[in-house]
């Protein structure tokens, strides 16, 4: 497998150095692996800190900037960051108004962020947490670690980030973040496995002519393998899986997300099918975002995330944002 890397051990540090070179508006601490808004801490503003394994770019560092995250902590590839990183980020962005940790529901992320919250509390930093768990492919029961956090992370970070920018207090920012998570559901599909830099070969064997349904974002197989489907059939399956759980009674935000190796030509075509299904099901779409936002290295495939919005959530979604990977308004 050919990769554009030096050695597997330095891929994360190398990417951060490149990010620093491209984005002078960010402070990139390569050694401690924290990416921050250059103007942090912003007086009176709640700090938003997220993070997780690397390999999901632009999540999370690509979403650091005005209107979204204050800081991000990239871990090793597909491995959560360590509490030291999160504590450093929290201390750097806290203006005294407190910090919200946006945590995806994976055992490692949850444990490390919990430990970081304890350490931050010891240092007198007020911390609240929201755990994102939007993936309907995982049954939310005592038989699993609970639903994974996937595409809804982007909705949570954008909407809570906009609210924090308006100067809302920590408990309000945390409450809206939880509201967005509760109103969001996702479903993902893989057309090919991923190759991690450390392993150098695909993590599972997916023959031509087959696809995996209900995948996460770590190259793990999904819940079920089936013969290859058309874009329209995949949209029917994914959107129906989401709607079976979400049952929206109003307009939704739609994220049609690429997993890293699927071109926009295919993603836009898939988006057309997603809109067709939503229209057939009578679900109005308020806004749509199409692109590679919550990825899984070089996995081919896509995911659909829907979030039911009210007027306030939609206003916060539309608020200006200026990050490496998401920017509009202003």
């Amino acid at each position: 497998m050919k990769m554009l890397i030096n050695v597997p051990e330095t891929v994360v540090a190398d990417a951060l150095r490149g990010m620093a070179a491209a984005h002078p508006e960010l402070t990139v601490d390569v050694e401690n692996r924290v990416v921050m808004r250059r103007d942090a801490p912003v007086a009176g503003k709640v700090g938003l800190v997220s993070g997780g394994g690397s390999g999901h770019e632009p999540l999370h560092a690509g979403f650091v900037g005005p209107g979204m995250l204050s800081a991000a902590c990239p871990g090793e590839v597909f491995t959560s960051p360590v509490p030291d990183q999160m504590l450093r980020a929290a201390a750097a962005v806290d203006s005294g108004a407190g910090v919200l940790f946006v945590v995806k529901n994976y055992t490692g992320d949850v444990l490390n962020f919990e430990m970081a919250a304890e350490l931050a509390d010891d240092e007198g930093i007020q911390v609240a947490q929201v755990v994102v768990d939007d993936d309907v492919a995982v049954s939310d029961s005592t038989f699993t670690a609970g639903r994974r956090g996937t595409g809804a992370t982007l909705f949570v970070e954008k909407i809570a980030g906009a609210l924090a920018d308006e100067g809302a207090p920590l408990e309000r920012v945390a409450a809206v973040a939880r509201q967005v998570n509760g109103a969001s559901r996702s479903f993902g599909v893989a057309l090919g496995a991923v190759t991690t830099p450390a392993k150098g070969s695909p993590t599972f064997d997916l023959p031509a002519g087959e696809l995996e349904l209900g995948i996460g974002i770590h190259g793990e197989p999904g819940r079920e393998r089936r013969p290859m489907m058309t874009s329209g059939e995949i949209a029917d399956f994914a959107v129906n899986a989401v709607l079976e759980d979400l049952r929206p009674t109003g307009p939704v935000l739609a994220l049609v997300n690429g997993m890293g190796a699927t071109p926009l030509l295919e993603l836009y075509g898939f988006n057309a099918e997603v809109h067709r299904v939503l229209s057939q099901r009578g679900v109005p779409v308020a806004r749509t975002l199409v692109g590679n936002y919550v990825t899984s290295l070089d996995m081919a495939g896509c995911s659909v995330t829907l979030c039911q919005v009210d007027e306030e959530l939609l206003r916060l979604w539309d608020a200006p944002v200026r990050t490496a990977a998401l920017r509009w308004g202003r």
Binding site: N112, T142, A198
Partner: protein, 203 residues
């Protein structure tokens, strides 16, 4: 009696064993996880070796608490907090004596294993590291070799189980038929303990 040097040699033996088995652990992890368990633990125990040399802790308890804190700071994922908690809580339970008995170690290790269960919210049979650690802790009161054998058997017994915790749980029934990487690395930790004890007896 087990002195500070014994615990340093135990940690060195774990580091060597993880180094040797890193590819195997990663291979197991690629079946039901994300193919990095070996490289993550390798990074952690390399850092443990370095910090134990630099800070030279003076008691058995201090060796394990320092090692545990270092794992939390370097590994990430679920393994960092879980293995870090295992060693830290075992070390804390050992107190600050210069030497400990095997019985004291067995009791402290049981406390460490119980802390892992609390942190991860897992139980026996969930296809996690506890499936190796729980039987090992029970056997350790009697014999180091018995603990190693119990850990190995516990790890092998995870093959037919369906994962209910950690990332493998997302696979549902497809996790069945694969040995749990966390239980396997836990067995390495206990086997390294038995090997260290055997070396000491030979000397």
């Amino acid at each position: 009696m087990l002195d500070t040097d014994f615990f340093r040699r135990w940690m060195a033996a774990v580091a060597a064993s993880v180094e040797r088995e890193a590819n195997h652990l990663t291979e197991l992890d690629s079946a039901i996880g994300d193919a990095d368990h070996g490289s993550n633990l390798q990074r952690g125990f390399t850092a443990v070796t370095a910090v134990l040399e630099k800070d030279s802790p003076a008691t058995p308890g201090a060796v394990l608490t320092l090692a545990g804190r270092q794992l939390i700071s370097t590994v990430g994922g679920a393994s960092g907090p879980l293995y870090g908690t295992l060693l830290r809580r075992t070390g804390k339970a050992l107190g600050d004596g210069a030497e400990v008995t095997q019985d004291q170690l067995a009791q402290a290790f049981a406390a460490g294993v119980s802390a892992v269960g609390q942190l991860g919210g897992a139980q026996a049979g969930d296809k996690t590291m506890l499936d190796a650690l729980l039987p090992a802790a029970e056997a350790l009161a009697t014999s180091f070799d018995g603990a190693a054998n119990a850990a190995r058997a516990g790890a092998e017994a995870t093959v037919p189980l369906q994962a209910r915790k950690g990332r493998a749980s997302y696979l549902g029934g497809r996790s069945i038929g694969h040995q749990d990487p966390g239980a396997t690395s836990s067995a390495l930790l206990v086997e390294a303990l038995a090997a260290t004890a055997a070396d000491g007896a030979d000397a």
